[in-house]
């Protein structure tokens, strides 16, 4: 969906970010030092830069100065409040502290992209097409009627596709905080989605964890 540049000198972490973001459909470029980052950003457009601060060559602060229009998320071990404030003040769109959770990373990346980038209007897989603006779903050309919650559950699964989400997480994403229902509600909605859209092979139950939409 979006082209994201990852600037992080630790190969293990750079790879990890790339894998996590690729899962949910982003296209990732990787650089391992500040100078390469500056060079690459000036030559190719990116939708988002994920930037470490302590980098060889040029620090994250120096890199962000060279970036004009691309949104930036700082991803760093500098956890102190003053570092976060500095990061946000010099123009970062968000600030993630290591160690981070995979879901947190994905959600923050998506949040920044929602603010800065026009999202694609539809998401398609197999014979299913989801109109993300009109909130309508068609299967093999004919519209499938979904309840609002069923649609929101599908949208959350699409946003986190290929990532297993726990029932608690789904409740949080779809029903928000004030919902006092239980895991059974999620199971019921998932079952209906599977039935209505024929997703038995795509919408997997992950043992002991939750559900994953594999596309």
């Amino acid at each position: 969906m979006a082209r994201i540049l990852i600037v992080e000198d630790e190969k293990a972490i750079n790879d990890l970010i790339k894998r996590s973001l690729t899962l949910v459909g982003h296209e990732c470029g990787q650089v391992f030092n500040g100078l390469d980052a500056i060079e690459l950003i000036s030559s190719r457009p990116f939708d988002l830069v994920i930037l470490d601060i302590m980098l060889p060559g040029a620090s994250g602060y120096e890199v962000i100065r060279e970036i004009k229009d691309t949104p930036v998320i700082f991803l760093t071990a500098k956890a102190k409040l003053e570092d976060r404030l500095t990061g946000l003040r010099i123009g970062a769109d968000d600030y993630i502290v290591k160690p981070f959770e995979m879901l947190e990373l994905i959600e923050r990346v998506n949040a920044v992209l929602r603010r800065t980038k026009a999202e694609p209007a539809t998401f398609e897989f197999d014979d299913i097409s989801v109109d993300l603006i009109g909130k309508r779903v068609t299967k093999a050309g004919s519209e499938v009627s979904l309840t609002p919650k069923e649609y929101e559950l599908l949208a959350a699964l699409i946003a986190h596709r290929n990532v297993a989400l726990s029932r608690e997480k789904l409740i949080y994403l779809v029903w928000t905080y004030d919902y006092d229902g239980n895991d059974r509600t999620v199971d019921t909605h998932i079952r209906r989605l599977r039935q209505k859209l024929g997703l038995e092979s795509r919408l997997k139950t992950v043992y002991k964890l939750g559900y994953r939409l594999e596309v």
């Binding site: 000198d9 630790e10 190969k11 293990a12 972490i13 790879d15 990890l16 894998r19 996590s20 899962l23 391992f32 030092n33 302590m54 060889p56 071990a77 500098k78 956890a79 102190k80 290591k98 160690p99 981070f100 959770e101 995979m102 879901l103 290929n162 990532v163 297993a164 989400l165 997997k204 992950v206 964890l209 994953r212 594999e214």
Partner: protein, 452 residues
């Protein structure tokens, strides 16, 4: 109460006490003396009168003139009354002749008394006469002498009061001025405690206040220097903690991230193995960091052993575990040892050489060469690797510092090795000497002859 006020009141009080005591005793003695003088004069006069009366009476009796003793008495009384002296002749309680307008309150045979007669002070002398059964009562007015003394006392008192007032007025500003330096010092101290740490007291002059100001300034200087030291120390510690947090966060992020990735994503076997190998290698890194931190703590908290150590053997022992790593990297590792012995902790020295040799191997690319050796208590490790700039050299013993972040992490360094080496050297009362040139290599030398 302030010091100058205390001083002022005390000085004034003491001065007044002595002044008034002096004036009073002066007046007292002069009064006694004038009274005695007056008394002596009166006695002499009385004696003269009595003797001349006795002579006149005996003359009169022997010549047998018709005049009576009464007449003689009356003429004496009259005569001396004109000269301001009252006389009376008394016989057995009967007054024979008298010029007293008012009888004296008391008189007795042979007595000398001072008393008031009609509001004025007199000396009254009673003297029994010879040859006649009669007593002469003599009274002399001494009011004049008394008045004289009174005016003298008045002048003295007035002078004393005047002097006191003058002193009170002059002493006040003088004493106040004396403690001005003290007030200034207080003001300075207040400003310093208010945060103006650069303010210093005025040291001019050579009295006690000046030396106090000097001591004060020295103290403030010392305290400031100590504070700066503590601040620096705290900064170093804070940086160490920050660095350590950063160093620990990176592997933890990777381990946690890959574990979560494996948990949530359906990944092909190949990727799964790759993620697992990241988890293993990052766990190893955590382990290495924690070991180095423990080593540092160990050196900091324990006294080192002092034993005879064969330096060449320690070097060989230290190099052994690194041979395979050097071979893997294509780096040649050579030892140039000659047998020598030093005093120190064998385990720590091995740790020192292992760290130095490992750093040297890491600094080399393929085809590089590392040489370690010892002779006469001095050991060295040199490499023909990247070398370091002066700027880099000044940082290398800081914990977690790396000359080249990404590369030395790839080599598995925790960034703690040289900080550890420095501690070990310090524990052996020596230090590591670095000679390095970018692109040419580094040589570390350590002289271990300090401990005996």
């Amino acid at each position: 109460m302030k010091l100058w006020q205390k001083n002022y009141l005390l000085t004034l009080a003491l001065f007044l006490v002595f002044l008034y005591a002096g004036v009073f005793s002066l007046a007292f003695f002069s009064y006694r003396r004038s009274m005695n003088d007056a008394e002596e004069t009166a006695k002499a006069e009385e004696s003269y009168i009595a003797r001349s009366f006795e002579r006149d009476l005996s003359d009169m009796l022997s010549y047998g003139s018709g005049a009576s003793a009464d007449m003689l008495m009356r003429s004496y009384v009259r005569h001396y009354n004109e000269n301001g002296i009252c006389l009376a002749f008394v016989s057995g309680g009967e007054v024979l002749a008298s010029s007293f307008e008012e009888a004296p309150a008391a008189y007795d045979e042979g007595s000398i008394l001072r008393q008031s007669i009609g509001d004025e002070r007199h000396i009254v002398i009673s003297d029994p006469l010879e040859d006649v059964d009669c007593m002469l009562v003599f009274a002399k007015n001494i009011e004049g002498v008394y008045r004289e003394f009174k005016s003298f006392a008045l002048i003295c008192g007035a002078a004393a009061v005047g002097v006191s007032l003058l002193l009170a007025a002059v002493l006040l500003p003088l004493l106040k001025k004396l403690t001005v330096p003290l007030e200034r010092l207080e003001e300075t101290a207040d400003r310093i405690s208010g945060g103006e740490l650069d303010v210093r007291a005025d040291e001019s002059g050579n009295d006690e206040f000046a030396s106090l100001a000097k001591s004060f300034n020295t103290m403030v200087g010392r305290v400031n220097a100590h504070m700066d030291e503590l601040k620096k120390e705290a900064e170093v510690k804070q940086r160490l903690v920050d660095d350590m947090a950063h160093e620990l966060r990176t592997p933890i992020t990777a381990i946690r991230g890959y574990a979560e990735y494996l948990e949530r994503a359906a990944v092909p076997e190949e990727e799964r193995l790759e993620a697992l190998s990241y988890i293993v290698s990052e766990s190893d890194r955590l382990k290495r960091i924690s070991e180095k931190i423990l080593d540092s703590a160990f050196i900091r908290e324990n006294e080192i052993k002092k034993e005879r150590v064969r330096l060449d053997e320690a070097l060989r022992e230290a190099a052994r575990p690194l041979e395979s790593k050097a071979a893997e990297k294509g780096v040649s590792l050579e030892l140039e040892t000659s047998p020598c012995e030093v005093v120190g902790d064998g385990v720590l020295l091995s740790m020192l050489f292992t760290n130095l040799i490992e750093n040297a191997v890491n600094a080399c690319g393929e085809g590089g060469a590392v040489t370690a050796g010892c002779a006469e208590g001095t050991a060295f490790v040199s490499d023909a690797g990247r070398g370091m700039t002066k700027e880099q050299l000044s940082h290398i013993t800081e914990p977690f510092y790396r000359t080249d972040k990404s590369r030395s992490r790839a080599d598995g360094g925790a960034g703690l090795g040289l900080a550890l080496c420095q501690r070990i050297a310090a524990a052996h009362c020596t230090r590591l000497e670095y000679a390095s040139e970018p692109g040419k290599g580094t040589k570390v030398t350590v002289d271990l002859t300090a401990l005996k």
